[in-house]
Symmetry: C2
Subunit: 334 residues, 2 copies
């Protein structure tokens, strides 16, 4: 910048103004400056710029469990779309389900003075996600409502979706329905379980603990759990799987099983339409979860930046993304 200014015999301030498109600068001057900038290949240092202007704007963080899970990669696609629209960069990190790791990541990001943070929390305790701990950067939770902190969130209709899926199985005549699920410590785990249990109860069916397996959502564990369930003396005739990893694990296991077990799962599965098996899934727009979370986040960021127009209370928001039940195969087999 100094070089540019020196060469043109102007001050650094003039260069600064020209670059930013500030008003209060003569058009010819701006042209000269911009030409020289181009000639020298000078690019302003965003770090220094933000340091001075105070704004940490320009970088938002996203902490998920793992990008290897399509739910999270779709989510991040949505977040990225909105971030890009707003001219912000996206810092992503995977906590791999580890709450301690999550805390480290979040602290690291806040040290980097990100403008805001979207988190899919790995645990029950959200105190480390309090914006007051994070240099005031707004926080939005995805897939889980805040606990003991006051922030916006975007949820999926976990209860309703699972309820509908379980109901569908009941309508088809199933009476012994198992649940292959996530840990109760996870919001999604407990809500989806609740939907399952409620559907059974509303149908006058018992919730049989033998048919319920709650574990981390990973394919291997789901396979083992499925093997166990279908090996029972009186096995379930149908299973509800609590997320895409569980659905895949169940599908894999049942492929080698002689006894057919009906399946309904949370999360849509790519290629589900090509499986020859009947399968119902609770589908929803995961990218929209991300987009919505990002929108809420940027609204808050602007709110913080803007000089508090009036005394708007700005209550905490909670957006719920709807689900729909999809039956595969799409065209019912005869």
């Amino acid at each position: 910048m100094r070089d540019v200014a020196a060469r043109l015999g102007v001050s650094a301030m003039t260069v600064s103004r020209a670059i930013r498109g500030d008003s209060g600068i003569a058009e010819p001057t701006r042209q000269r400056v911009l030409a020289e900038v181009a000639a020298l290949g000078y690019r302003p240092n965003d770090l220094a710029r933000r340091l001075r202007s105070g704004l940490a704007h320009g970088l938002v963080g996203l902490v998920v469990t793992s990008l290897a899970n399509p739910f999270y990669s779709q989510l991040s696609v949505g977040v990225e779309q909105v971030a890009t629209e707003r001219g912000a960069g996206l810092l992503v990190a995977s906590a791999n389900g580890d709450a301690d790791r999550e805390r480290e990541l979040v602290e690291d990001m806040s040290a980097r003075r990100i403008a805001g943070l979207i988190v899919v929390p790995a645990g029950n305790d959200h105190r480390h996600l309090d914006p007051r701990q994070l240099e005031g950067a707004p926080v939005v939770l995805a897939a889980t409502p805040p606990r003991d902190i006051d922030v916006d969130c975007v949820l999926v209709d976990d209860f309703g979706g699972t309820y509908a899926a379980c109901r569908r199985l009941i309508e088809r005549g199933h009476r012994r329905i198992g649940f292959l699920g996530l840990p109760a410590s996870l919001w999604t785990g407990s809500e989806r379980y609740r939907g399952y249990a409620a559907a059974l109860e509303d149908a006058g069916l018992p919730v049989d603990d033998r048919y319920v397996s709650r574990h981390r959502g990973d394919i291997e564990l789901a396979e083992a759990a499925t093997r166990h369930l279908i090996g029972l003396a009186e096995p379930p005739t149908a299973l509800i799987t609590a997320n895409n990893r569980n659905t895949i694990g169940a599908l894999r296991t049942m492929q080698h099983s002689p006894t057919p077990v009906a399946l309904a799962g949370f999360d849509d599965i790519e290629l589900a339409d090509l499986l020859q098996l009947p399968l119902s899934v609770v589908a929803y727009d995961a990218a929209e979860v991300g987009r919505e979370a990002a929108r809420l986040l940027f609204d808050r960021i602007e709110e913080t930046t803007t000089p508090q127009t009036a005394a708007r209370p700005a209550r905490t928001q909670r957006v719920v993304i709807p689900t729909r039940l999809v039956d595969y195969p799409r065209v019912p087999a005869p």
Copy 2:
């Protein structure tokens, strides 16, 4: 920081030293400072820190086509693992196959003074990826070798993988084999096509242009192309698909087709083991592509940081990730 210093009646310098674990500070002093830091919840501002110390360290960029494609999300998982190990943050962005967009993203990232950049280029022209244009930040290309610039890259064995896949179809007696591929302007597109064509030629078979469709790798286009190919007067009896999007498109289309067409595709497909169709895939570790790219990148970053130990020429590296041919169903049907 000033607050902490003031409260303790020490200088900011002492606080700085305590935080960084600098030597030259008395242990009791450090303890007092750290206690006060914790009490006030003070967190150092990374931006300011880096601004002064010059180090752009701590943030690397990744530009891919789309995180919605499992190849790229796996790749980013690998990059993220290594970045995290090295204590760096990861800035991701999708160019969606648009070369202009890619250039914008890259420029934006370099304005943010990232320490290095990994790119899966969207086009043929790589001049905008020259480190000299990017404040000297090292660049590593993934999936595509550099063209007109001198940077490291990590490749997949596109030619060998496709060659093997095509050979497999030939071994199974196919003589009319189609190719459902990516644009020739993409490295992966042309290499995979080359592998296909070479396998045919080596088997004394003609490359019939009617059976070749080259288009952007997206599911809808692949479906249309497949419909076209199997609708030909003398349709191919087998298809090679150039990436996972094409494979899925072909699978979808062929599900509704009476004429069976054998399929072999580049990229493994989750759930391929559950499809009832025979399918061969060129599998490889996409996360390893990312890890390897990140390793190369951090090596270069250190090289830049380190005061040039000896006159190591540091030649440009090119790493190739191997592929293996996997036949589904794993246990061949009778």
